[in-house]
Symmetry: C2
């Protein structure tokens, strides 16, 4: 999935997430972009949908929030599983990937005859600074 040129709204949302310290909810993004002309949730959600599709952004299900992808390259996402640690203290989110987990999960779900479309792995806890 090659990433096409981003539209104006997509660029604005991408920029907001990229410059943010941590994850942001759609409504937080909306507030940040009011000065840029954003007025309604849908402007954010539509941009996010595309950015998620392109793999530039991830959704954190346990937070109802979004983060910019921190992968150096795209290719990690093509077949891979993305996992996150999420610190409850400072909000820091760390994205990581691991083949061993992928393969083990793959084996387990194959045993159920289950066809995976998307895998969510989110680990809530405290980072080294906030322990």
């Amino acid at each position: 999935m090659a990433t096409p040129q981003l539209t104006k709204n997509q660029s604005l949302v991408m920029g907001a997430l990229a410059h943010s310290e941590g994850p942001m909810s759609a409504y937080t993004i909306l507030d940040k972009l009011r000065d840029q002309g954003f007025r309604a949730p849908l402007q954010v959600y539509r941009a996010l949908d595309k950015l998620l599709e392109y793999g530039l952004v991830h959704r954190l299900e346990s937070l109802n929030a979004f983060v910019a992808c921190t992968c150096p390259d795209d290719h990690e996402h093509d077949r891979g599983v993305t996992a996150f640690t999420i610190c409850e203290g400072c909000g820091q989110v760390t994205e990581f990937h691991d083949e061993a987990i992928e393969e083990r999960l793959s084996t387990l779900v194959r045993g159920q005859n289950f066809k995976t479309e998307k895998t969510t792995i989110e680990i809530r806890g405290h980072c080294s600074s906030c322990a």
Copy 2:
């Protein structure tokens, strides 16, 4: 964490989840329990909080919904990670546990000096019937 006697509201919510085919949102549970005298979301959320604490119910983050635990015994939850496959076709949810995954995640997270409190693993896709 021994499970105390459930209160009336907790029993009603537990019953609704246990007899349900699949996961239910808090508001769906509320509707099912109107005849039993439930009138407000808080009655459901309060009961769910306790049931989650006792490990009798799990929350599916990617669905904003809840399922009864299907473990034969409690002891799987004490130290363990709970994972789910969720079929987008029929809504079927299957809970499973795997030590290999737990250990691998534990190793990876320790490498970050991260202290895990709760791990979410949810696999969306299609079950054998809905492939």
